[in-house]
């Protein structure tokens, strides 16, 4: 049987479960034998497990090219209780395969990069034994992410949804004993976990509503129902979609639940690149795109999705302008770009959203990994100085993430500089890089649907170009602002080669859906309702112009006269209080602290002290329960057991003793007495027979 015949039969779909099985196998091997295998083997096993998943994803892609309607690969019955039937089956269609290819492809590259990065990182942080643990978590993440994207029903998607959340938590707190006061990273992990739980709560409620309304959690049943009975059930669907949106705002870091993502940068940089930029955070976008059939019915929810997306895009972009931590800038940029995608799926442009999702995965993973390369370069420089006896930073804590400590790295780290530049230009939406095409498709769709969304996104795009220009100029241009930056070396090929491959993706990603060709649109048409968006030269021209203007302004502020060592950010002088607001993230964390966290803790204190401790413990438990029990048992012991039960037992004994004490005198031991009683007995019997019967 030739390869094409296999394709004709669509039998390649049967290999779909392997896409989850390979990373699971990899993590099991590393978990059990990792310590004995050594770093090199662990890295190779983990990376090749994900690489094999990518191969499976490609096979699914080929299978779909002949059977574009997709299929559902059943694995097992999972839950069957009464009306509820949840089979474990994998959905292979154009939408899920798009995610599979993106996730496994980017993951494979980041795994390879992480071999080099973590080799250094575990030594900088002083615990080389954690190298294996990192790759176990990383493979677990890929496996659960695959569960999420291949889900055939809401419950299975929720399993993946929680699984990636768990991996995110584990990896944010990877150096859990480090960070501020020794618990900063652990707190960041906890914050991400709890914030995500709020979103998951929305997802759960939505699932309950769906089951209540439809009686099934299968995507096919639910979408069919929405198609047939959607118009009679607009209220229910609106409620469902709003709760799903709450789930998406948690996972994809949108207003109001975005606060966890910047703190999540506490994790190692490959984690930020893979989980908190390219893959996990896009799960919310994917989920809303998947539920297009529901959002199409609920106009209110769609509008809210678009509005939240656009507002987040602008809000996060302004914060990114005021940050100094190289990874935090990228984190807010990620939130902002996720806002673009959410806005796209909100205005009904699922294809544009997915397009941007894929291109963003390339260039944001690229940017994060390059940032990791920069950070490691600076750390190398710092350690080099300590080694030769110089005392950089005057003994103060040195922050290798702070852009104020960088500068002039262009000549030190050439490859990193060029790939970073490509990533930044792609993110800014400069022709002809990937970001240009995807962002302009979103803007064109937004322009078509709603002028408010369009304006918000356009301004956000302007800020995007500005903060990326600022970052590039601060990090790579001018003069080194610290001794460490002067001695920063380039990183080894195991790190730079994945960067170059991702840079190629960031350059060429646009060909997925070029105007006039609409490859991705045609591809997704088999799964979603799509509409072709015509290229809008005005929109594209305007956004490119704004991006170039923003970069120009950035050069005017930061490039013309490079920041000196220890000098304040020139923007602070120009914008004054506005910059302070940007720098302090518009005090959202403080606001949440004041509005939610503090009252919540106060309430918890009151509940713990009054309800639990005083009422429940002191009064109910100690007084009511314990005393009742004590009194009750005392009564049972003294009054009942000792008197009644013992009385019965002893009374029976005494009675028997007394009776037998009397009876023993009958036993005289004299034979003649017995003979007499015998005689009396015989006489009695005889007299009974003689006189009794008559």
């Amino acid at each position: 049987m030739s390869f094409s015949e296999v394709l004709q039969g669509g039998s390649l779909f049967a290999y779909a479960p392997l896409i989850i099985a390979f990373p699971l196998l990899g993590l099991l091997i590393n978990m059990i034998f990792g310590r004995r295998l050594g770093e090199r083997a662990v890295g190779i096993i983990a990376s090749s497990a994900v690489g094999l998943s990518f191969v499976i994803a490609i096979l699914q892609f080929f299978a779909l090219s002949t059977h574009p309607e997709g299929t559902s690969v059943p694995i097992a019955d999972w839950i069957t209780i009464g009306q509820l039937a949840v089979p474990w089956s994998l959905k292979v269609d154009t939408l899920s395969v798009t995610m599979m290819l993106m996730v496994t492809g980017v993951s494979a590259l980041i795994h390879v990069y992480a071999i080099g990065y973590m080799h250094e990182d575990v030594r900088f942080q002083g615990d080389p034994g954690r190298f294996t643990r990192f790759f176990v978590f990383f493979n677990l993440f890929v496996a659960t992410m695959m569960v999420l994207v291949t889900a055939d029903n809401f419950l299975m998607m929720f399993v993946g949804w929680e699984g990636v959340g768990l991996c995110s938590y584990l990896l944010i707190g990877f150096w859990f004993e480090k960070g501020e006061d020794g618990i900063g990273n652990a707190i960041a992990g906890k914050k991400a976990f709890i914030t995500n739980r709020i979103g998951d709560f929305g997802f759960l409620i939505a699932m309950f509503l769906i089951f209540g309304a439809v009686g099934s959690l299968q995507f096919a049943d639910v979408f069919h129902w929405a198609h047939e009975h959607g118009l009679e059930n607009v209220d229910v669907i609106t409620a469902i979609t709003l709760f799903l949106l709450l789930g998406a705002t948690g996972k994809s870091a949108q207003i109001p639940l975005f606060v966890w993502l910047p703190d999540a940068m506490a994790g190692p940089t490959p984690v930020s690149a893979l989980i908190h930029a390219a893959t996990m955070v896009t799960a919310g976008i994917y989920m809303i795109a998947r539920n297009q059939a529901l959002y199409d019915v609920a106009g209110l929810s769609s509008n809210l999705v678009a509005l939240i997306g656009a507002a987040t895009a602008l809000f996060a972009a302004t914060i990114a302008v005021g940050q100094f931590d190289i990874k935090r800038v990228l984190a807010y940029s990620t939130i902002s770009q996720l806002g673009f995608m959410l806005a796209a799926v909100g205005v009904g442009a699922q294809v544009a959203g997915m397009f941007h999702l894929v291109t963003h995965a390339f260039f944001k993973a690229l940017l994060f990994l390059s940032a990791g390369s920069v950070i490691q370069g600076i750390e190398h420089g710092h350690h080099h100085l300590e080694h030769v006896g110089a005392n950089p930073g005057g003994g103060e804590a040195f922050d290798p993430n702070d852009m104020r400590n960088m500068g002039g790295l262009r000549s030190k780290m050439k490859i990193t500089f060029w790939v970073y530049l490509i990533g930044a230009l792609a993110l800014s939406g400069i022709f002809p890089l990937a970001g240009f095409w995807s962002k302009d498709e979103i803007l064109a769709d937004a322009n078509h649907e709603s002028i408010v969304i369009f304006l918000l996104l356009t301004v956000a795009a302007f800020f995007t170009a500005f903060y990326m220009g600022r970052q590039i100029l601060m990090v790579f241009f001018g003069q080194p602002r610290s001794e460490a930056a002067k001695h920063a070396p380039e990183n080894p090929p195991v790190m730079t080669v994945p960067l170059i491959l991702l840079a190629v993706g960031a350059i060429l990603g646009g060909v997925l859906n070029l105007p006039g060709m609409h490859t991705l649109t045609d591809w997704l048409e088999h799964t979603l309702h799509v509409h072709v968006t015509e290229f809008n030269p005005v929109v594209a021209g305007l956004s490119t112009l704004l991006a170039l203007l923003a970069i120009g302004i950035a050069w005017f502020v930061y490039g013309r006269q490079p920041m000196g060592k220890g000098s304040p950010d020139p923007l602070r002088r120009m914008l004054g209080p506005i910059f302070v607001g940007m720098e302090n993230k518009w005090w959202v964390d403080e606001l949440y602290q004041f509005l939610i966290v503090r009252p919540y803790i106060a309430l918890a204190d009151v509940l713990a002290d009054v309800i639990d401790w005083r009422f429940w413990h002191d009064w109910f438990h100690d007084t009511v329960l314990a005393r009742t029990f004590r009194e009750g048992t005392r009564w049972l012991n003294d009054a009942f057991d000792l008197r009644v039960i013992d009385g019965i037992a002893n009374g029976l004994g005494n009675l028997t003793q007394a009776i037998s004490g009397r009876m023993r005198f009958l036993q005289t031991g004299y034979v003649r007495n017995y003979a007499l009683s015998f005689l009396v007995g015989v006489l009695l019997v005889l007299s009974y027979f003689i006189f009794g019967s008559s």
Binding site: M663, L666, Q667, T668, Y670, R672, A675, L676, L679
Partner: protein, 105 residues
């Protein structure tokens, strides 16, 4: 010579009562033993008397047969009883039955 059955039965009753009284009042084991034999033989006498009264009916033989059985059992009993008495004498050096009262309550 034909003695009325009633007389024989009366004799049998008298013998039996003598036996009973002997068992109850005497303390010598041998005498008690003899009294028991007396009771057995009074019963035999009554049985023979009834058998004779019923002759020549075939059922009369049953009385004779029963008497033979009683005599055989009495013989066996004598063997056991005398052995017991000997055993008692060996331990107590007496055949006074009132001396054998260790089962007194």
């Amino acid at each position: 010579m034909n003695i009325a059955t009633d007389y024989i039965l009366a004799l049998s009753g008298v013998l039996f009562v003598i036996g009973v009284l002997g068992v109850l009042v005497r303390r010598n084991a041998i005498v008690i033993f003899m009294s028991i034999e007396l009771m057995l033989n009074s019963a035999n006498l009554a049985l023979i008397a009834f058998a004779r009264a019923m002759a020549p009916a075939a059922e009369a033989l049953r009385g004779h047969v029963l008497v033979f059985f009683v005599i055989a059992v009495a013989a066996a009993e004598v063997a056991v009883g005398l052995a017991l008495i000997v055993a008692i004498f060996r331990t107590k050096h007496s055949i006074d039955v009132d001396q054998v009262s260790s089962l007194q309550g």
